[in-house]
Amino acid sequence: MTIPNEATFPVASPGSSVRPPASGVPRLLPRTPDGKPGRVPQDLAAHQGTHGSLPYRGGAGRLIGELQAAGLTGRGGAAFPAHRKLQAVFDAARVTGRQPVVVANGAESEPASDKDATLLWLAPHLVLDGLQLAAEAVGAGRAVLYARAASQGRRQGPLDSLNEALARRRDARLDRVPVRVVQAPPRFLAGQETALISHLDGGPAIPAFIPPRPAERGLGNAPTLISNVETLAHMALVARHGPDWFRAIGTRPEPGSMLCTVRRGDGAPRIIEVAIGAPLSVLLARSSSPVLIGGYHGTWVPASLATPLTLDNASLARAGARVGSGIVITLPPDRCGLIETAQVVRYLALESAGQCGPCLNGLPRIAAAMAQIASGRPRRGVRADVERWAGLVTGRGACHHPDGTARLVRSALTVFADEADLHERGRCSASRHAAPFLPVPQATARIEADWR
């Protein structure tokens, strides 16, 4: 198929009376009249007042070239180019003759993250606009919004408010494809693409081996586009303001802005929208404590190494880290990184689907060894065991759960090596009575129904 030249399509929608906003942040999250980040959910009227009408492109495939020009990458963590994903689904639809499905992935099953729930809460219509535009671009006949049920400190569950938003859109006859809202089970792997497909097809939210890729054979065997909700919101802005506007901030290989979940102390995290390539230090606490970048499949980085970095994969790679889904956590000085990591690894092990040998057999062993290292007086050689097991489980599962867990554990053993020496002498630098800092859900799957 040929990608139409993006110049042949109007950048702003025909009836739009809204002039392009300033290209800086925040772009996705609502602003107060004085330009500060707003904290009030944007209803349909406010959304249309800010962003204008929904700029349908009038045919499948047309938005794809614009997304390529914009250089938009997936904000779910993998940073895969959005246009290539859409193109794969578009092509698969032509080859198979099946009408595609589009899924907005708001499972956000990473406990440390809250950016997708916040976006769905504050700017649901931007995501739903993106969902319709993506559906049009790949020629989909239906769409699914997959979101988690629990929300941190909000009165209304996100599913209710999303159904309400969809009802308003139905009244206004905005949407061209029907959208079904589905609740994601509270499992760490629920947002993984093949687990998502399995759940939406009525099975347990458990990863499967690929191929087939969801883009070729996904939901009900139809070509399926699975896109993070933030990525869809960016698509809605690219469709309105064009690739050049999108590229006005960010770096050349990684343009635009991204939502970050920032934790610098106890209590609720802050959701901050930053330009990609911004100094990482704006997201860090002013302390010399290590930083966890990328969440529970991410990497611990010492403060001295983290402070000069910028928030983009090219820079973070120097510290062996990746932007991921934008989780940046500074460890409070009174907490022990080994204790924190051990309880996260225990959670990750318990969240294994228990179907691939390396994960089923490896992660519990790594978790038990980390618990020993954290609890003080570990036996000799246990750190070497963890290193060896981490190497053994990497790259051998149906999904990347063992790989991500191994990455977290290895970086913890490197960054907290001095602390581990201290533990071997029966001491710990953290205050003894501090409660665990990193959020870890206590309810893990006990029966098969917990995966549904």
Partner: protein
């Protein structure tokens, strides 16, 4: 008929390769049961058990082909090549050779789908692979039924040993599956076990 086919060596070769093929098929079946349970054999890693299962099955194909070709080429009795694969068409020992042909066809189906596994869905491959459970008893019936050798003496013992080994293997397989924890409980069980275990000083 050439000189070779009028001598008896090909007849013996056919019988010998048939016996070896039965032994190999028994080993392949036992290894397959182990692979399906992700069991380990002695100190071999699991992938080596899978590798052994695959390689011995290919070796069994080679012996089966020799078994069939020597039987066909041998001039003592007349067996058409097509009756080796088309069941119950042989004029000689129609029943027992027919059963052998059925067993061979089933085995070839299992082998060919396994070689093409990358192009098949897992379910389709697995459905065909279940035919192994039919192909072994059929091959066994052919071995004992078509050959007077295997009905007495140490050859009979060998046949009984093969059957007993496979019966034991299937019993083990079924009982192990019955003991299986549901998927959602496997990690919990292992974690509980690891936490209950006392740290072993200096252990690997």
């Amino acid at each position: 008929m050439n000189a070779a086919s009028s001598s008896t060596w090909m007849w013996y070769a056919s019988r010998a390769t048939g016996v070896v093929a039965l032994l190999l098929l028994t080993a392949v079946a036992l290894l397959g049961l182990m692979v399906s349970r992700q069991a380990r054999l002695a100190d071999l890693p699991r992938f080596a058990v899978t590798g052994l299962h695959r390689n011995l099955s290919l070796l069994a194909v080679a012996f089966l082909l020799l078994h069939v070709l020597t039987a066909v080429a041998d001039g003592y009795v007349t067996i058409a090549l097509d009756s080796a694969v088309i069941p119950f068409t042989s004029r000689y020992e129609r029943l027992w050779l027919g059963i052998g042909a059925v067993g061979l066809d089933l085995f070839l189906a299992v082998i060919i789908t396994s070689l093409l596994r990358g192009h098949l869905g897992r379910r389709a491959w697995y459905a065909v692979h279940l035919l192994s459970y039919a192909s072994w008893p059929i091959a066994f019936a052919h071995s004992v039924g078509s050959s007077g050798d295997m009905q007495s003496g140490w050859m009979l013992l060998l046949a009984v040993a093969c059957a007993a080994a496979l019966a034991a293997g299937i019993t083990w397989r079924v009982r192990a599956a019955a003991r299986d924890l549901p998927r959602a409980q496997r990690v919990h069980a292992l974690m509980a076990e690891l936490h209950a275990r006392k740290p072993r000083a200096g252990a690997q």
